[in-house]
Symmetry: C2
Subunit: 381 residues, 2 copies
């Protein structure tokens, strides 16, 4: 396998933009990434494009046609919230194995114009979902269990929203750029007790794009490559089959493999971008990713370890909670954020001297309470 680097990134603002089409959003992100990389559209040899919430065919090809990327291999992919991670992995693999030298990973979503907008999302055969075990309900059940098992308090979860909105207020691409107090988060509308509104990520529109390149050609384009040190994509199975729903079941199946590929451990990470669709997701991922022992996510919050300036900042972008969450775009957006940090380019929210970072997304739910896909990437400068 060859070494592969990110040599350019670009994205749109995230937010509610129902006046903008998928093609419009995607085109802006791709143009920004091309410009950032200095790569000509004619030199892109492979493209993976992620989208979920629309029935649209050949979106990669349509966006490609607008920017001059044609006559190449293109995959349109979907893996729920991990769709962007899936697109990134697809391009990485095609380059790492030597088939192509330069490729484009793209995630595009317009939640506000989806026919699903405003509807609880559940599949036709998902009995638990049909009976009301929606995403927030599932999050609430897991919060309750974590509280019962480890003494975690509602304030711990709420503090994650406070932290991520603090970060998001520093991010010009964020859907929200507004700080909230702990009381405001706790007192916002109850969605599924103890989960309040400000602890849930918003519906969002947006796109993000990344250009990847084989080691041999990197120096032609950039002096600041960001290397892909690990790539893992798995469908990790079902919480319903787990003994303990306070965990995401990623450990054995994804995260160990990612650390092994990269030759690092959680103690080597300078920061993490992870899937905080709800505040509890971030907390249980602290434990799953090994940022702290099982049950000590609350303590990590109390210590301020995961805030900017802390020991291991998590979601310096603001995460899904503040940056917004256009499903298939988020996994690629995380790569943009990490790249900017590793190139020391994000100003006020910069993690100083960051050299190693991890991106994690998980997506979908099958049989009601199982995550259906998980993508983890470790990047280094």
């Amino acid at each position: 396998m060859r070494k592969v680097a990110v040599i350019g990134v670009g994205m749109t603002m995230f937010g509610k933009m129902p006046e903008r089409s998928l093609v419009d959003l995607g085109t802006e992100a791709v143009r920004a990434a091309l410009k950032d990389s200095g790569v000509s559209p004619k030199n892109i040899q492979v493209c993976y494009c992620a989208n979920y919430a629309h029935i649209v065919w050949c979106l990669a090809q349509e966006i490609g046609s607008k920017v001059g990327i044609t006559n190449i291999e293109m995959f349109n992919v979907e893996n729920a919230c991990a769709g962007g991670s899936t697109a990134f992995r697809g391009v990485w693999y095609a380059i790492a194995t030597g088939m192509y030298d330069i490729g484009l990973a793209l995630g595009v979503e317009s939640m506000t114009t989806s026919s699903l907008a405003g509807r609880a999302i559940t599949s036709e055969t998902d009995l638990d979902g049909q009976l009301g075990l929606s995403m927030p309900a599932r999050a609430a059940l897991r919060m309750k269990r974590h509280m019962a098992k480890y003494g975690t308090k509602p304030e711990h979860f709420a503090q994650i929203a406070v932290k991520n909105h603090d970060h998001g207020a520093l991010n010009p691409y964020a859907q929200y750029k507004k700080r909230f107090t702990l009381e405001e988060v706790l007192n916002s509308r109850m969605i599924a007790e103890p989960l309040t509104l400000y602890q849930c990520c918003p519906n969002s529109d947006g796109a993000a794009a990344v250009i990847l390149c084989a080691e041999e050609k990197v120096s032609q384009y950039t002096s600041k490559p960001v290397w892909v040190a690990a790539s893992v994509l798995k469908s990790p199975g079902y919480l319903a089959l787990q003994e303990d729903i306070t965990l995401a079941n990623l450990t054995e199946q994804c995260i160990h493999e990612a650390y092994e590929q990269a030759g690092v451990g959680p103690e080597d990470l300078d920061f993490v971008e992870l899937h905080d669709a709800f505040t509890n997701s971030e907390l249980y991922l602290y434990e799953e990713l090994g940022l702290c022992p099982a049950g000590e996510g609350g303590r990590l919050i109390d210590e301020g370890a995961t805030a900017l300036g802390g020991r291991i900042p998590v979601n310096p972008s603001g995460g899904l909670l503040a940056q917004g969450h256009p499903l298939s775009a988020s996994g690629v957006r995380q790569i943009c954020e990490i790249t900017w940090h590793l190139r020391d380019e994000v100003g006020a929210r910069q993690v100083p001297g960051a050299k190693v970072a991890l991106a994690q997304m998980e997506g979908g739910m099958v049989i009601g309470i199982g995550s259906a896909s998980c993508g983890i990437h470790i990047l280094t400068r």
Copy 2:
């Protein structure tokens, strides 16, 4: 790159089955392929699943959960009519490059239950489509041009429908199993002059699945492997930019590469399964694939060369016209058909002694009249 073989195939009946869910259809096809291969679900290491016409997330994972395929890498993909070919290529590549030994390619579509059912399909930014240049209209324009340039007659196109329905009448999995006379085809309802109803593929539901395996493990499962001799997936660009719309523009961009990979030419093919969404598609593909010189597709029909028993049978399955066309399933279904022939298992419609066959699908349209994706595979016994 390692050699990769098809070691098991399975599919549902194709037809209008609105009472059946995507998961139901997909599960049946996967179970049939597993049974045919003798592979345990636990030994499947990677899965690509194609679907287009529904907003459904993680379909691969949901179907996998029903049959015991979990905890593996899964991609859900879309490339319009070439989605099934895309899924097949993805699994082939993952095995050929050595990441995995055994994988599952799956295509599932339920056109009758799609929210698109009964609507012309066009993207939000596709101006030509919005103005009425639907798929049948585009086919009709290309027919007219072929007639003007080469003297091809409406009867030539209609004879393709007669032939493919003759073949479909021998196929127990076909949506239609009914023969039509030339007059019946020509006199069926006019859709877009000179294209009549019986020259258009139907809306269909169905699923098809294929198990692929690395050479080293093939002998554990089968004594009749079907080898993948070539795999090409490209987005071949736009008819709007072509000088000649009577061609599909596949030649330089896909088919030459496929023949080169396999080390064969069109004269070496024993039969072909190709994308006959409309009768004219089959005719221009004769020329594009090199089964005859440009302009001589009509003559090939007159000679009966592409009928079962002819020099180079095309669509012994009945093709999309008679077998039916559940979009993302068709590319995988072609692999099933070819596998059965190369194993000498299809009875009345068997191409005797077949050793080499080609599968071709193209999909999507961008900027009104451009095919957006093309997948070509050459298989040998």
